[in-house]
């Protein structure tokens, strides 16, 4: 019987090793899989390449992973935000690399990686610093840059509900990068608020079909990043 559920957060990330590439879902705290990230902090593996839209807040979640010196390189669109302290400090000190990607190009690169598309063309960033060094090609009189599909060894994603097949439903704007990161990772690890029986998610409303999900961890009451930041919490 197929059953992708039942592992703990620690077990789910146990084979993420030094040098792995890891996509981490979330747009700010919405959809950020904080318990899975903390399990990765606990593992202490280093030299990670992390693909995530932001770089976290305060000293918890993704920011804690970065603060712990585990991330060698960030691929993201917006590494700066109100409570983003850790990344700027390490970046200015030359201790972390940054590949800055326009947000829509980042999303499409991830979707392409998951869909078996090695490269595509987009008008985004043509003529800008972020288009420099990229192949430019004209279609129907307009210039486009070539962008490459992006895959990763692992994805850490937060969804709302899952069944044992790994079918997922999300909540509101916490959906964001989750579905495409599940597609693009060789091993997609998902924390959900609730496990349901097969059929418990309407098959018309499944957002991520189970084929894209390898492991599901139930975290009934996930921590809320912004509250932890407000309280000044530091992980671990």
């Amino acid at each position: 019987m197929i059953n992708k559920i039942g592992v703990s957060a620690a077990e789910a990330v146990a084979d993420i090793g030094d040098g792995a590439s890891v996509m981490i879902g979330g747009f700010g705290e919405a959809g950020s899989p904080i318990e899975l990230i903390h399990a990765l902090v606990d593992r202490g593996v280093r030299n990670l390449t992390v693909i995530s839209n932001n770089t976290g807040s305060g000293r918890v979640g993704l920011a804690a992973l970065i603060a712990n010196g585990q991330v060698a390189k960030m691929i993201c669109s917006y590494p700066r935000s109100a409570n983003s302290l850790v990344f700027p400090e390490l970046y200015r000190a030359g201790k972390i690399a940054l590949e800055l990607v326009p947000q829509g190009t980042l999303a499409e690169r991830i979707r392409a990686g998951g869909a078996g598309i090695p490269a595509f063309y987009t008008a985004t960033a043509v003529g800008t610093q972020l288009g420099e060094g990229k192949e430019v090609r004209s279609f129907a009189g307009r210039d486009y840059v070539m962008e490459r599909g992006l895959r990763a060894d692992f994805a850490l994603v937060r969804a709302d509900r899952a069944d044992r097949y790994g079918n997922l439903a999300y909540t509101k704007t916490a959906r964001n990068f989750g579905p495409i990161m599940c597609m693009a990772a060789r091993t997609a690890i998902v924390q959900v608020r609730q496990v349901v029986e097969p059929g418990g998610i309407d098959p018309e409303a499944v957002v991520t079909p189970g084929i894209f999900v390898q492991r599901v961890v139930e975290v009934a009451s996930p921590q809320q990043e912004s509250l932890l930041v407000k309280e000044g919490r530091v992980y671990p």
Binding site: F27, S77, G104, T105, E108, T128, T173
Partner: protein, 222 residues
């Protein structure tokens, strides 16, 4: 249109002017900052659908304090609500709307706009700045009409409308119209055309505060 005591437009005036120019039924993405005010200024009897690139079409008003939902936010990561008839989707679908030319208007803030509509709004280019681009480059490349809402000059009085942008570009020849505290200016093939001036502003005064030649287009408003 109200104005400040010095005859310049307030930020709300600018937002109202921008909202006035958005057609009924339009799909609109609002950038962070002054552009966010546009949502409050849709003329009565019109319906505009607001898109936020983090996966929501049909952004509603700000939530009542205490009812914020950390999983329902806009691109500025502020809590929002969703209208009845909203739709959620993932990031690739959201940017398919942007890149595919499905959005009618993108309203953005800016650091500089050039005489030919180049936009700079993502980086000062300073060596120790943390570069962060978000969805700005996708929006200007994909949305049908790109308009800028910004103060006419920097805090130190330097023009933000310039012959050539000195800051790193967000996009080339992308801006269609600029709304400032002093004027409404179109970017046209002939050059920058001032369409409307705030009540206390003369054309000469406007030109003096602008880093590129302006055409007085007040007689032939588009």
């Amino acid at each position: 249109m109200t104005a400040t005591t010095n005859g310049e437009w307030t930020r709300h005036d600018m937002a109202r002017l921008a909202a006035r120019d958005i057609h009924d039924g339009a799909y609109v993405n609002l950038g962070i900052g002054i552009p966010e005010l546009v949502a409050q200024c849709v003329p009565a009897g019109q319906e505009v659908i607001f898109h936020t690139e983090n996966g929501l079409l049909g952004v509603g008003p700000s939530p009542v304090p205490g009812s914020e939902d950390p999983e329902l936010i806009n691109a500025g990561k502020k809590p929002v609500t969703a209208i009845s008839g909203a739709a959620y989707f993932h990031h690739a679908d959201s940017f398919a709307m942007i890149r595919g030319g499905h959005l009618d208007v993108s309203v953005l803030g800016a650091m500089q706009v050039s005489a030919t509509g180049d936009l700079a709004n993502w980086s000062t280019g300073e060596p120790d700045a943390i570069p962060a681009v978000g969805g700005a480059m996708d929006l200007v490349a994909g949305v049908k009409r790109v308009v800028v809402l910004m103060e006419h000059t920097t805090k130190s009085g330097d023009p933000k409308i310039v012959a050539r942008c000195s800051y790193p570009l967000t996009g080339i020849r992308v801006v269609d119209r600029i709304y400032t505290n002093l004027a409404v200016i179109d970017v046209t093939a002939e050059g920058l055309v001032a369409r409307e001036l705030a009540p206390g502003v003369t054309f000469e005064n406007l030109q003096a505060k602008t880093g590129a030649p302006l055409i007085d287009g007040r007689d032939h408003r588009s």
